[in-house]
Structure formats: C-alpha cells, structure tokens
Symmetry: C2
Subunit: 414 residues, 2 copies
C-alpha cells in the first residue's frame, strides 16, 4: 500500500528547521510493507493544508499528518482534514474534561484556546497521547469512493513517535496485508564510495527483491538491505544471502555485519583482547576520544588521553622530545609515532594512538598540504605510522582523520 506523509508547520519552510519525524515513520511503515510515495511539507495556512491533504488523498491510500494539533491559532490540521474530507468537527466532552484535569495537575491556567485540542473529526477514533495535551486521531474513511486511512499525530518527536508506535502501528497492521520484513545493516570503513559502489553494484543489482541503500559519510559506508516477503524466513534468507556476498566483496573493509558503530567494534575488540587504549590528539582536538566515550561502558577499555594542541603539551603529556619537533615539525610521521608511544607509556595502556595534521583552512605548504594527517598506532612490540591526505573543509578533514584513527585500531586488533 502507498502512503504520503504531510509534515505541517511554517517553521519547516524556513532555512532553519527540517522535518525529521518522517524518517522514523518511514522506517516503521516500511517494516509492514507500506511504501512512502510522497512527502509534503506545508505551512500553517488552512487553504494550503486543505490543498495538500486533497492531493495526498487522491494519490495514496494512507495519509499521515504530523503536527498542527496544538492549542494556538496556527494549529489547523484538525480543521483542514475535516474540510478536505467534508466531515464535521465536534468538541469532545471527555477530551475537554481531560484537558481541565491536565491543567489542574500542572497548575497551569486553562486558556479558552486550549480547548481546540478537544476537537474531534466526525467518525475519528481518538488516539491517547500520554506525553502531551493534544491527542492523535485515526480515520478509516472514503474519498471519491476509495477507502483511505488518515492519521493525525502530534509534531513534537517525543509525542509523535510513541503515539505512532502504540496507536497507529497496531491499527495499520490489522488493515495492511501482512508482509514480513528482514533488514540487515553492513558497515565498512575508509573505502572510497565510488570503489564500494563499483564492487557492490554488480552484486546487489541482481537482487531486485532486496532494496539496498548506501549511505556514505567521512570514511564510513553504511549498507542497508531490506526485503519484504510473505514469510519472515523467505525475507531473511534473501537478505542474508546478499549480505554474505557483499561481506565477501568488502573483505576487510567491512567492520560490522549487524550495524554496530566503528566505536562499538573497536571497544568490542579491546574487550576481547583485554587491551586498553589511550590517545594523543593534535589536529583532531579530542574528536577521537569524544567518539570512543560516546559509547556507554567505554571506560572499561578506554583510559583517556591528551589533547596536545600546543608543542609544549606534546612533550609534557606525551613525552615527545622537543628536538624531534624542531627537526621534523609538529606535523610529521616521527612526531605522530612519538605521541602514540608516549601516551601509551604515560598511561600504561596496551595501545596508544597519535594523530597530528593540518586540518585547515590555513597552515598548508607544498610539502604538507591542508588535509595531510600523520597517524601512529603503538603497542609494546612496535609503532606503525601512516600518512594520509584528506580532502574537504576543516570539519571534514577532522572527521576523516578520527575515522582513520579508529579504523587503524580495529585493524591492529583484528
């Protein structure tokens, strides 16, 4: 079945704010085999809203409206849906009472405006919203003689998502022809996107019943494989078969077969080897440490490290000899190696990482251009150094460099 999501709110037609609820809802809809054919973003104008709703009803079976259910004059979704479907709006006595109870509980004054939230479209089922004052609504109705499902859900993500899960999804499951969905997410590090596509396209294009989505960010490729079949076994088998062939093609670029993040994989391997890690960062300025510590429980394997942004700190926190810096420059393979070794010894960690480079936008030379990064990984046996040159702005170079640092640890531990 085909659906359209309509996100309501003038703020989403500014340069500053974007609808994000629809990504979540799309994931849930896809899981039961419902595709999203259109998304429309419309402001708080009754005429525009009615036009958008009528267009949606004419071209899809399921229309989901997000937002515009609050108490202000700008909140017009209820009115617009009623008008588009030529249904009446009535004020629901039980909802009015609930609003009064809510206001009393929170010791808030009860403005007349608030009562708008008790307006219910004729024939609609009220969907309780435990996280806010405006309930959702569910309509199983007809438009131009065709059956249509219409849902009104509140806009704040902490209200929208649970209400959609708890109230809309069970009702949809009961109506939508049953399909089973299997999903797998694979991840690979540091492989160029074009190379990944060249390797993988000849494989996944032959699986026309599996939808493959490739998402690339700095040094990270995420592949999502989705298959919908009348039985879960059939769907899972197709996804697993394709995943297996892709894993083989990606070889050791692949770091995750089940969607884990690179940080999680690095911590997993550290735990497995009973190893600990410490980092000395210059150009990434704490980004490697921040990424690792974003994972709960990272303290079991990650000791910490030093952000050695100035040269004296490279010496005092990571034991880098000042004459090494004078001889090779702070951005050099030699200093990266000394940082990795120094931070390892200073912290007593099993592994030490050193990252130094030129993130830009200034500071590049002919010999060492902007984007040049030196990395080192050190253990008790040896210290390996790596030279890389990444393209892009300061943020992008730092993202690539931190990704490369994490991937070097993964490869060291593999």
């Amino acid at each position: 079945m085909k659906s359209e999501i309509i996100a309501v709110g003038s703020e989403m037609l500014t340069p500053f704010r974007q609808d994000t609820n629809s990504l979540y809802l799309t994931e849930k809809l896809n899981e039961i085999g419902v595709t999203v054919r259109f998304k429309t973003i419309v402001g708080d104008r009754l005429k525009d809203l009615v036009s958008a709703i009528r267009n949606a009803l004419a071209r899809t079976d399921i229309v989901i409206l997000i937002g515009g259910l609050g108490p202000t004059e700008d909140d017009l979704t209820r009115e617009a849906v009623a008008e588009a479907l030529s249904l009446a709006l009535r004020r629901d006595a039980a909802q009015v009472a609930a609003l009064h109870v809510r206001a009393a509980t929170w010791r808030m004054p009860m403005a007349e405006n608030n009562l708008k939230q008790a307006d219910v479209i004729d024939t609609a089922t009220i969907l309780p919203n435990p996280n806010g004052s405006a309930p959702g609504q569910w309509l199983d109705t007809t438009f131009n003689g065709y059956r249509k499902l219409v849902m009104l859900v509140p806009g704040p993500p902490n209200e929208c998502r649970p209400l959609f899960d708890d109230e809309c999804m069970p009702r949809l499951r009961a109506v939508v022809p049953q399909r089973f969905i299997a999903i797998r997410t694979l991840k690979a590090a540091m492989i160029p996107e074009s190379q990944a596509d060249k390797l993988l396209a000849p494989i996944y294009t032959t699986y026309t019943d599996v939808e493959t989505t490739i998402l690339a960010k700095a040094g990270d490729i995420q592949l999502t494989l989705l298959c919908s079949k009348p039985t879960l076994d059939a769907a899972q088998q197709r996804v697993d078969e394709l995943a297996g062939r892709m894993e083989e093609a990606l070889d050791d670029w692949l770091y995750s077969s089940e969607g884990e993040s690179l940080e999680q994989i690095v911590l997993y391997y550290l735990g497995l080897r009973q190893a600990t890690l410490a980092v000395a960062e210059s150009c990434t300025g704490g980004m490697v440490a921040q990424r690792i510590t974003s994972v709960p429980g990272s303290s079991r394997s990650f000791l910490g490290g030093a952000v050695v942004y100035s040269d004296p700190l490279k010496t005092s926190f990571a034991n880098v000899p000042p004459d090494l810096i004078a001889k090779h420059g702070a951005v050099s393979a030699e200093v990266a190696a000394a940082m990795a070794e120094g931070i390892r010894k200073r912290t007593g960690a099993t592994l030490g990482i050193g990252v130094t480079g030129i993130a830009g936008p200034t500071g590049g030379t002919d010999e060492k251009p902007i984007g040049r990064i030196y990395l080192a990984v050190s253990d008790a046996q040896k210290t390996d150094t790596f030279e890389r040159t990444f393209r892009g702005n300061r943020d992008r170079v730092r993202q690539w460099a931190s990704q490369q640092a994490l991937d070097l640890v993964r490869r060291k531990l593999m």
Copy 2:
C-alpha cells in the same frame, strides 16, 4: 511571490536520507522576498513526478525541481516537466558535443544513456553546470494561462548550490519585485527554552513585520530575525530595534549579537584578555576540546588538555590526589576543582576547566543521579565549582555539559 521546491529521488523516501538542498535554496529565496509555501519530496516515478509538478504549478508562481537530471533510467525530471507543461523535449547538439568532450577529458567511455543529459525542454534556457555533466534548465512559461517560472537544478549539493547561486538567482532577481532583507542572529546560552520564550514572546509578537525563528539545542538558543522592506534601511532599522529589545531582555544569557558560535566567543574573549585555556574532561570525554578546536586558529589561545577517563589519569595528568578521589568519589565538586586547578598548573594556562559527571545510561545513585555534572573553572586567584543536573540520554547530557563548560569560561572572562 510564492514558490514550491520539489526534491526528486526515491532515496529521500527511505528512512536513511533527507533532502538538505532545500534549506539552502530557501535561505536564498527568502533573501529576495520569495517565500517557500510547499516542499514536496517525490520518488523516481514519471507518473508521481508529473502529478507533483502539476500540483506545484497550480498553487505557486515559482517551481524549483532538484535532482533527477543524471544519466540513468531513473532520472526523469526533464521528461516529467515537459509532460506537465505539454512541451516537447529535444536533444541539444551543443550539449551532446559538450558531453563527448567531457567524457574524453576524463577518459571515460561515452554510454548512450549519458546523452539523456543533453535533452532540453522546448523554450528552456540551458544553465551551465561547471561541477557536473548535467546542465540545469530555466523556463519562463505559462500554465493554465498564468506566468510560471520553472527551474531544473542538479541534485548533488556541490552542483546544486553554485548553479542556483550563479544561474537562477540573477534571473530571479530580474523578475521578482525588488525587496531588501535584513537578518540578525542572536544567541544565548543555558537559558531554558520555555523561559526564553516567556521573556521574548511579548516582545517579538508585537513586531509583525519581522519574522522571528527560535532554534533550541542543548543549552543553546538561536534567534533569527528577518525583515523584508522596499528599502534596506527600513528593514535594517526594524531588525535592529527588535534585536536591541531582545538583547536587553536576555541580559547576560546573551552571548552573541551577530551569530557567532559560543566557541568563537570564548576564543574571542581569551584573545582579548591575552589568556590561554586548558581542559581536563572526564564524562565529556574530549567534547569540550573538540568543540573549541573546531574553530580555525584556536591554537592561539587553546593549549590542549587531558581526557582523564580513568582515575589514575586524573592523578597523572591533572594532579588530582588519589585520596581526594577515594574520599569524595571521582564524580564530585572537589575532584572537578582539583582537575581544573591541576590542568591549569600542569599546562601553564591562564584558565583551567574540569568536568566530571555521570552521563549515563548507568552509574546513577540516589545521591548522584544520571545527568549530575560537576564543573570547575580555575585561575591564579581562585577555583569556582558548579553542580548541575541535566536531563536526557548520554549524548544530550554530554552536549549540555560541554555547553555549560564553555559558558562558564565566557562568564569568567566577561
């Protein structure tokens, strides 16, 4: 004048990818007084595309299509616009030649498919695309007897944005009645969103000719004031007047009157006072350092610091006495103070910061719940400590804590 942006591509109807070009285009359109009334996201199906284009032509004056101009079978924007406007498509000889030259330059084979990109809609002006192979197109045409402007621009952001700036904007300026836009961005730190709105709504709601947008993230409020008038002076005067009243109301919550980031402001004050900064982070795990070093040139005032995730590192890098940790716990005001003082002395910085806390999702107690953060700022005269409790998940608590740390430095230097 009213516009609609149509983003074309099935990948934007998955849970994984979102249109972002439209935010940029909206900003540019607003600058010349063109509002965006609708955004539509539509997949690579000819029927859906034609339906979306016809709806847009019926309800707005300017229709901008992003994407679907590439060489594959899925790239159908040219065909769909031609069909929606009942215009013919012709293969342009000069464009065919340009594609052959491009293929030769890059030593790439010239597939027959590629030539699709040379198809031009009757009466369209070709818009050169120096960053890709598919040119844009500009149509000044009629639909149901009304004048309509229709633009086709490529989807990749590095092609879309320059082409829109260089080719579409000058043509739009020549057609759209001239309006002048004044914009100001104010920023405030650590004020709760509800409190900001309570303070500011009575002010900005009286300026009906200035559009105020409030954007809140962890501990950071951004206010954008936009006014469009027949002269720049008139627009600037209204924006500056409203900005002045808001600045007064926000008092010392306000940190920026011209849109600078909190990191930039902290570095600005450090430079002004010829002061240097070093940080010792536990729960934020490098996030404070990473944020500061995201600013180019931060090395002039930021020395670096230590990520003292383990207790022994708190001692070896930030001089925290082990018995202090044993007595008060690693998460305590006393340890935060010792970290700030220790890192300041160890690095020779003017100011030291210490951050320790419980980011979650586990590790909370009745006395020190998840979200409890202790911060300290130390200079040669004294060390001040602060206790905060932030709500939300691990990432959100860390974001709030890093924001609070930066804001404490700002207040110290003010």
